[in-house]
């Protein structure tokens, strides 16, 4: 993974920069000592490590603004970081970059039930929002599996998903407002407690921008009332085709489940060995279908899903009879990543999305690739929305095996694009998928995205080296090559 060449002038000024930053963030908020910087050298994508120039942990918006203004004026790169759980290296530090940690922004500022929203600081964890409102019967819908640890600011940056996206949407569908500090220190407010400000949708653009456009210092999230009942089915199939067929028929019948997850045989076995969830071991694919709503509705829909599953050749089917049993169904799925971590020294977690009907093709190609690379793969799949998480098992201690795993992963993602899907459904591009972007986008597509970045950060100081495979100067991107002349298209109908 090639990162932008570090700026020697900045590197040699580390101590002076730290002093300057201390004038903005006093006390222990500036970390320069090598050992103390080490905990920040990696995020959830642990295969990559870089020690940052300096770590700064501001506590106020004014400090964030002053830090950014300082970096802007001095041409110093900035990498924003929330809880550091990104799976794509979104907060991987730069040697010559200030790592701006938002961890101290950890307060819930306001809960406003009448407007069904909460105003929170970006360092608040995803789960903490739900915890703060659940006693009153509310929750925050997006639930990435890292929700205990991941911060809402990071969720905004990555447009995080979770298992309930099909029905409740991703982060972008659950936000009302943001406060953002721009690279020059200016603080802007977008949205509020109202819906749909008619202007360019900066809220939508900021969400999923992976820390390249601005630093989020406040988030207004939508709260939802928790459903009365939640019940799940655990359904085993002799083939992934049949499981996929069942998913399509459920949706075709007009049912949008709260969650619909699929696991393949290796994932089922790893999970069962780890948490003993009671999963059937003799099936090729396992579906968890969760329905939520009033009891009447859930009972009605459980009946419909059961009927469909049986018609698709289900060989085992359990319906949760208690909350404990439902959580048991999920226990294996939620532990799937660590479970795979137990059976392999290391694993890479991929994150493509495919049109659902392509699943059998993608799985069979993946088996071929697995044989080709000699690396095992286990699959968990947000089946409702086509988001696939192949887990590639490897051993980093074997020379060359990480590289092989990365190549395997790259082939899987290119396959996702080839069948009409995308490189990443919820983990972000970061550094991990950066160099695969040309598989999905033309140079013109990417240049247009970069021009959007130029509007926010013309000097390219925010999180450079992420998302875009090649960096271009904004002046160069702004240039136009115009060919004047006669109307070159005599065939367009005109009036």
């Amino acid at each position: 993974m090639e990162m932008p060449k570090p700026d020697d002038a900045v590197l040699s000024n580390r101590l002076r920069i730290a002093d300057d930053l201390r004038a903005i963030v006093p006390g222990e908020g500036v970390i320069v000592d090598e050992d103390e910087r080490r905990p920040y050298e990696s995020d959830g994508l642990t295969a990559y490590k870089t020690s940052p120039l300096v770590v700064v942990l501001p506590e106020t918006v004014e400090q964030v603004s002053a830090v950014l203004r300082y970096c802007h004026e001095n041409g110093i790169k900035v990498v924003p970081r929330g809880a550091g759980t990104s799976l794509s290296g979104g907060s991987l530090p730069l040697e010559d970059g200030v790592l701006l940690g938002l961890g101290k922004f950890n307060r819930i500022l306001e809960v406003d039930y009448d407007n069904r929203c909460a105003r929170v600081q970006p360092g608040v964890t995803n789960l903490a929002i739900t915890k703060a409102v659940e006693a009153d019967g509310f929750y925050y819908a997006p639930d990435p599996s890292s929700q205990i640890a991941c911060s809402i600011g990071g969720n905004v940056a990555e447009n995080s998903g979770g298992v309930h996206c099909l029905k409740y949407g991703l982060t972008t569908n659950n936000l009302l407002g943001l406060e953002v500090v721009m690279i020059d220190g200016e603080v802007i407010r977008i949205g509020g407690k109202h819906l749909d400000s008619e202007a360019y949708d900066l809220l939508g653009i900021m969400t999923g921008s992976e820390g390249l456009l601005g630093v989020v210092t406040e988030v207004t999230v939508r709260l939802l009332r928790a459903p009365e009942t939640v019940q799940a089915l655990l359904i085993g199939f002799p083939s992934s085709e049949q499981a996929g067929d069942c998913v399509a028929k459920v949706i075709g019948a007009g049912i949008i489940p709260g969650g619909m997850e699929m696991m393949d045989k290796p994932a089922i076995h790893a999970a069962e060995d780890f948490v003993h969830a009671g999963y059937p071991l003799d099936v090729e694919a396992l579906l968890i279908v969760e329905l939520d709503g009033p009891a009447q509705e859930v009972t009605h829909l459980i009946g419909s899903v059961k009927e469909i599953a049986e018609s698709c050749g289900a060989v085992s089917l359990k319906i949760s009879e208690s909350e404990q049993e439902r959580l048991g169904f999920w226990a294996g799925r939620k532990a799937a990543f660590p479970a795979v971590g137990r059976i392999s020294p290391d694993y890479l977690c991929m994150d493509g999305t495919i049109p659902r009907h392509q699943l059998p093709k993608v799985l069979s190609r993946m088996t071929e690739l697995s044989n080709h690379y000699g690396l095992r793969v286990a699959n968990v799949f947000h089946a409702g929305d086509g988001n696939l998480h192949p887990l590639i098992l490897y051993d980093a201690n074997i020379p060359g095996e990480l590289r092989k795993a990365e190549d395997f992963g790259g082939d899987i993602l290119k396959l996702c694009v080839e069948v009409g899907g995308v490189l990443t459904g919820e983990h972000g591009v970061g550094v991990e998928k950066r160099d695969l972007m040309p598989a999905m986008f033309t140079e013109i597509d990417l240049a247009q995205q970069m021009r959007l970045k130029c509007a926010f950060d013309p000097d390219g100081l925010l999180n450079p080296g992420k998302v875009f495979p090649t960096l271009h100067r904004c002046a160069e991107l702004g240039r136009m090559h115009i060919h004047k002349g006669k109307l070159p298209f005599p065939d367009i109908p005109r009036f």
Binding site: D112, D114, D196, T207, E228, P294, L301
Partner: protein, 412 residues
């Protein structure tokens, strides 16, 4: 003025590239149904997308539909209905309001203006169902963003930027949207009340219940009477309406519980089947202000729902004002008299924008003559920082200001 009617994306690209090279401004038109909405523009040429129509992909089980930007909404709706599906954001037909006749426009137009109806509060806006597009930027270059899948975070979400950009950044040739099943059944609970605060209390209680409300509106007495539905006008009072959708048994159950809950605030009734649909279409299409001869200025005001009643009361002091609320109190549709072209009143612009600025929100001038729209602008004026950023974004897509110049703001 030449009107170009490209039949292929390639022709569209050529036309824009030519305009860019010659520095001509062009207006972009789908079916032209929203020509009277947005800031007035004078452009040298026009691009008409009506020949870039047709559904190119529809997979009901994958909940996805792709079509040319110029595809008439009627065609999209008909295809979806055949499979018992819909665009869940409930795009309004503003034709009655703007032109005195039904004119739902094109799919591209609906996306470009990010228009959503009463179900917005439950299912999201147009932008939330917009998965991908291909189009031509104001640089004359063909580009794409997004895709056809529900979950996608690959690169910046340019779909969000395109939705609601009013054709000022790029001309879309093709759009892909998420579609959803239609509900098996719908019912509407009516609560008779003249007090907007009581109404919003009821709507808030309903929205904060676990009963998944899919519409929450209030009409004052005079507007309830004009809806032409016996139960709505029966009590000669204002009416709060709460819509519930879903499988049959669930709807009946939720309806009963909601009626119990809001029943403490006043007398209630229930609308079944087509009468409920009539009411929500009436609200969706802003029919209370679409009667023949009604030429009042119409504002769409979006605020925090709890601010709804206070904002409602303040705007009612404007000349000849009438208003009603949707989105649980968060959306106020306001009609203000500006007869005889009384430009001094500016259609209440200063008052409306002041009130909105204080309460936090957004006011859009949806109907008004060209002079008024040019004078006071159509969208809520942006704070200086946001205005500068908006210009820079525009500049990145359309550096010469070729596409729909000035449609949103001066120079944008």
């Amino acid at each position: 003025m030449t009107q170009f009617v490209p039949e292929t994306a390639e022709q569209l690209k050529d036309a824009v590239a030519w305009a860019v090279a010659e520095e001509y401004s062009v207006s972009v038109k789908g079916a032209g149904t929203k020509a009277g909405f947005g800031r007035p523009m004078e452009t040298e040429h026009e691009i008409d997308l009506s020949k870039l129509g047709g559904i190119t992909l529809y997979e009901p089980e994958e909940l996805v539909l792709r079509a040319g930007a110029g595809t008439p909404m009627a065609e999209v709706t008909a295809a979806l209905e055949e499979k018992n599906q819909q665009l869940a954001f409930e795009p309004p037909d503003l034709g009655f309001l703007l032109k005195g006749e039904s004119a739902a426009g094109t799919l591209g137009g609906v996306i470009a203006t990010n228009l959503s109806g009463p179900r917005r509060i439950k299912s999201g806006a147009a932008r939330d169902h917009f998965l991908g597009f291909e189009g031509v930027s104001g640089r004359g270059e063909m580009f794409k963003s997004g895709g056809r899948v529900m979950k996608n975070v690959t690169g910046y979400d340019l779909c969000k930027l395109m939705a609601g950009s009013w054709g000022t950044l790029a001309v879309m040739s093709q759009v892909t949207v998420k579609v959803l099943p239609k509900a098996e059944k719908e019912r509407t609970i009516l609560l008779y009340t003249d007090d907007p605060a009581v109404a919003v209390r009821a709507l808030t209680d309903a929205l904060n219940s676990p009963y998944e409300v899919a519409g929450a509106a209030w009409l004052p007495k005079a507007l309830a009477a004009s809806a032409g539905i016996d139960l709505v006008s029966a009590e000669e009072s204002g009416v709060a309406a709460i819509r519930v959708e879903g499988p049959g048994p669930s709807v009946e159950y939720r309806c009963a519980r909601l009626r119990e809950a809001v029943g403490v605030l006043g007398k209630t009734e229930e609308l079944h089947s087509h009468r409920g649909k009539t009411l929500w279409t009436h609200i969706r299409d802003v029919m209370p202000f679409a009667a023949a001869g009604d030429s009042r200025v119409v504002w769409k005001i979006s605020v925090a729902p709890s601010e709804g009643p206070a904002v409602y009361r303040q705007v009612l002091f404007l000349k000849g004002a009438e208003a009603f609320m949707d989105w649980g109190g968060g959306l106020i549709w306001l009609a203000v008299d500006m007869s005889n072209g009384d430009m001094d009143s500016k259609g209440g612009a200063e008052t409306v924008r002041d009130i909105v600025a204080k309460s936090g929100g957004h006011a859009t001038l949806v109907r008004g003559d060209g002079r008024l729209r040019a004078d006071v602008g159509v969208f809520q004026p942006l704070a200086p920082g946001l205005a500068a950023l908006t210009r820079k974004i525009k500049n990145g897509f359309d550096p010469h200001g070729v596409l729909n110049p000035g449609r949103m703001y001066d120079g944008v």
